[in-house]
Amino acid sequence: MSVEAPERPIPSPRGGPPGVRGRERPVGGFELWSWLFMRISGLVLLILAVGHVLIMHVLDEGVDRVNFGFVAARWQSPFWRTWDWALLVLALIHGINGLRIIVQDYVRWPAVRFAVDMAFFVIGFALFVLGTVVVFTFDPSQWPGTV
């Protein structure tokens, strides 16, 4: 990561009709990739996260029907395992990058900012490993008669 990177995105005049100036956007480097990632992952999460929330929490009895047997039956399908893993990965990166952006606004001292960012990063990485292992190694046949 570059040390000289500007602390805040530099406002840049955007296209559009005269008199209209668009929202500010990073001009380049890591922050521009971060900006683009938040929007692309946001679009994918619009399907993955909103779909997940509607299926698991709203439709068809919602969370009342969720138990071990429900998860075991659902994860027999590689489609749902892939959905849940993609949701895990994108939501963690999107969310932790969002926390990093918020930390830029409220934590001014560089050493503290680095420590807070690292704490979130480590939590995110640990949850990525835990979630990935569970999604791909879960085998309900260890508990016969539950599916």
Binding site: G22, A49, H57, D64, A91, G98, T137
Partner: protein
């Protein structure tokens, strides 16, 4: 220059986007903090039915279900407002219709929350033993 009333005490000095900016942050932080807990509670499924069913029983409590309704609202608000942000970012000329687009996204959010609140509200009343 004398300070107008709106120059003090409000974020963004009264710009129309201030409330959606704030709500986008609050809902985003709420969702990621819940996700931290949710990955762990789902991971318990790897420890078998007895352990997992005890953990998900927490979600069947009516107070937790109230929080769950808040979670669904937070995800939905963040998603719909996120689309609004992308419209402004990718089609800058749409900023001319900023108020209309902001109003439209708020209406979409409120309208979608009506059936969701009714459906989840029934579940909450059910779990609370009202019915």
């Amino acid at each position: 220059m004398a300070k107008r009333k709106s120059d003090v005490g409000t974020l963004y000095k009264g710009s129309p986007g201030q409330w959606s900016w704030l709500l986008h942050r609050i809902t985003g932080v709420a969702v990621i903090l819940f996700l931290f807990a949710h990955v762990v509670d789902t991971a318990v499924v790897g420890w078998g039915p007895e352990a997992y069913n005890r953990v998900v029983a927490v979600y069947h409590n009516w107070v937790v279900k109230l929080l769950e309704l808040g979670l669904v609202a937070a995800v939905l608000y963040h998603a719909i407002n996120g689309v609004k942000i992308m419209v402004f970012d990718f089609w800058p000329s749409s900023a001319r219709h900023m108020k209309g687009i902001a109003l439209a996204s708020t209406i979409i959010f409120v309208l979608s929350m009506i059936p969701i609140t009714i459906i989840m509200g029934n579940g909450i009343l059910d779990s609370a033993g009202v019915f």
